[in-house]
Amino acid sequence: MTFKIAIQPDEVVHHNGERQSFSDRWFQLAKERGIDAVAVDVFSEDVIAQIASCDAFMWRCDPSALPRLYAKRLLYAVEAGMGLPVFPNLKSSWHFEDKIGQYYFLSAAGVPTPTTHVFWKREQAERFCGTAKYPFVLKLSAGYQASNVRLVRNPGEARFYIEQMFTYGVTGLGYRPTSRPRQLLRRLRAAAAFAKGHYPYAPTEQTELQHGYLFAQEFLPGNDFDVRITIIGNRAFVFRRLNRPDDFRASGSGRIDWNPQQVGEDLVRFAFRVAGKLDAQTIAVDILRRGPEPVIVELTLSYASWAVRDCPGHWTLDGDHETGDLRWVDGSMRPEDAIFTDFVTPLLETQQRLGSPTHTVICT
């Protein structure tokens, strides 16, 4: 009997031109280890049958709305219904592109975050605008780009966004507060589009319609960078992302400092604590500081591979996040390699224990 992994092909070309495919690398690694890897097509009708003929399933899914909303369902259906190991498993993916879910989780786990308010009713959101401390950071729950994050400077701006979130719904925070005549012009343009049979407010394959909530987070001044720590199993890859020029956001700036000396061990342990609570196969955490205290701003599952690969080394944790040994391992490592190793090692060990004749020397 041959061990067989179903893999959904993935490919992304990043803004900096880096081409990324976790699946390409996984196929290569599988071959090197004598594991049978089968490409599946998750959008085909018989996808369940394709996966059912395998022993495990891996899909590095894109954060765009359509594949993500599908992947969350398919992955757990396979995990729960077939009982197969999957990557990412539910514990790693349930919070994927869901800042509201992340906030409740962090809060329930007692993990420090910027002060965050989630309002589910317009009246509550409006009351908040009257008493809020400005500026605050407005975020959409889903959306991996900085266009889904805005600094709100005054009650007028806040009311504009409340109107957007509770009346039209939005697919992005692209529209800025503007004068009354301009707003009317926007409406007119939208009405003309509707009359012609177009749908100007409709969601797209990339972005879902978000409405009916307001997610407001305390603005933390004095942070010129955030610290991104990517945890894979017991490894931590660290780097700092410097803010875009004249901006408060570091996400997607592409200005990265990989010097590990710049990231304290306390932050590494902090990130391990969050990953441990989640019990995730992998997770990237973004850390800012509120005064001296580190706080977690966001969790990311679909991080870019190249930024992790370019780390000069990584930390490994042996034992508990508070007291366990942290050891520095020199040399670059691809995240897809670390994920694959963690994923297949227990499967191969189980198979060895069960005495499958064809797999006695694969695990190296």
Binding site: Y70, R73, W94, Y104
Partner: protein, 366 residues
């Protein structure tokens, strides 16, 4: 130190006038057993902190979209973040009002179900319309009302719904295919609403926008009734709901129903137990139809009406494996809330050492 359960109050009045509150019953039951309860307002600022001072959390949440979308996140955040037993647990709630997830689960778990095609692109959906067998049943992923289910009779009706689901998205399947002038009228109405500052397709608080998928299910003719089996732990309650004359749907819990257990086949009960076991759910209700003589699962529901369970003259109890384990009949009515609470207490006391550190922290602060 005594156990303390955080409970979110719930109350529903059903169309037949039945008032239902799981939380009230749970609080009574807890009191009778000397267990402390702590009412929670899940929407309050300090809800998670308050719950983390308790040993468990229960919330019978309603199915309206906004609360449900909140509840799914909140419940699992508590389950994983605080690490205490939660009702409903993730395994009992992840599929809640999500027929897409259910469809993939049935197929992955090899549970007999009606043949269902899900298309994620307009092209694939359009291609299907060309070759589909008509009529078929179109469903939205969520929505517990029959407005989210339509019998599609021909290709042009199907294409209308493809346009709805891949064009602007819908909150329900209320709009029917219409003539060209009516379509133009609808567009003009949408334009007028937009001028007035509204998004004509934004759903209300009780609904969500369905967009970017097409869920088509085989129509199963010849079913005069649907069987609802409600599983709570190893108990099964069952009722038949009759299909409305001239329709292919039941009227949920408002139509004609029959609680005679003799009319329910053992195969149906075993299928329900098998499905619940596969899910690992604390409780789940299943709607079952027949394809010829074979029972097939149509849908899973997490928040069934309590009175329907209570009117059952008794229930089946399964010992062991769903396929072959012995089943016995337990005579007499039972509240769903009671069965859930009984099992949940077991779960709390058997889920390893009860966590006291938060409670200790609270008493130190107090």
């Amino acid at each position: 130190m005594s156990l303390k359960i955080a409970i979110q109050p719930d109350e529903v009045v059903h169309p037949n006038g039945e008032r239902q509150s799981f939380s009230r019953r749970w609080m009574e039951l807890a009191q009778a057993q000397g267990i402390e309860t702590f009412p929670i307002d899940v929407f309050s600022k300090h809800a998670t902190e308050r719950i983390s001072t308790c040993n468990a959390f229960m919330w019978r949440c309603p199915s309206s979209a906004r609360i449900r979308l909140f509840a799914k996140r909140f419940l699992y955040a508590i389950e994983s973040g605080v690490g205490i037993p939660v009702f409903p647990s993730l395994k009992s709630s992840w599929y809640f009002e999500d027929k897409l997830a259910q469809r993939y689960f049935f197929s992955a778990a090899d549970i007999p179900c009606a043949r269902t095609d899900v298309f994620w692109t307009r092209e694939a959906a359009e291609q299907f319309c060309e070759s589909a067998g008509y009529p078929f049943v179109l469903k939205l992923a969520g929505g517990h009302q029959s407005a989210n289910v339509r019998l599609v009779r021909n290709r042009s009706e199907a294409k209308f719904y493809v346009e709805e689901l891949f064009g602007h998205g819908v909150a329900s399947l209320g709009y029917r295919p219409a003539s060209r002038p009516r379509v133009l009228l609808r567009r003009l109405r949408a334009a007028a609403q937009t001028l007035g500052g509204h998004n004509p397709y934004v759903p209300g608080a009780d609904a969500e926008l369905h967009y970017g998928y097409f869920y088509a299910q085989e129509f199963l003719p010849g079913n005069e009734f649907e069987i609802s089996v409600i599983i709570v732990g190893n108990r099964a309650f069952a009722v038949r709901r009759f299909i409305q004359p001239g329709d292919f749907r039941t009227r949920g819990s408002s139509g004609r129903m029959d609680w005679d257990p003799e009319q329910i086949g053992e195969d149906v009960i075993r299928l329900a137990f098998y499905t619940a076991r596969k899910l690992g759910a604390q409780t789940v209700a299943l709607d079952i139809l027949h394809r010829d003589r074979e029972p097939v699962v149509m849908e899973l529901t997490a928040n069934y009406a309590s009175w329907v369970v209570r009117k059952c003259p008794g229930h089946w109890v399964l010992h062991g494996d769903p396929a072959s384990g012995p089943m016995e009949w337990a005579e007499g009515p039972m509240h769903a809330a009671d069965a859930i609470f009984e099992d949940f207490l077991d779960e709390m006391t058997n889920s390893g050492p009860i966590r006291y550190h938060h409670a200790t922290k609270e008493s130190m602060q107090g």
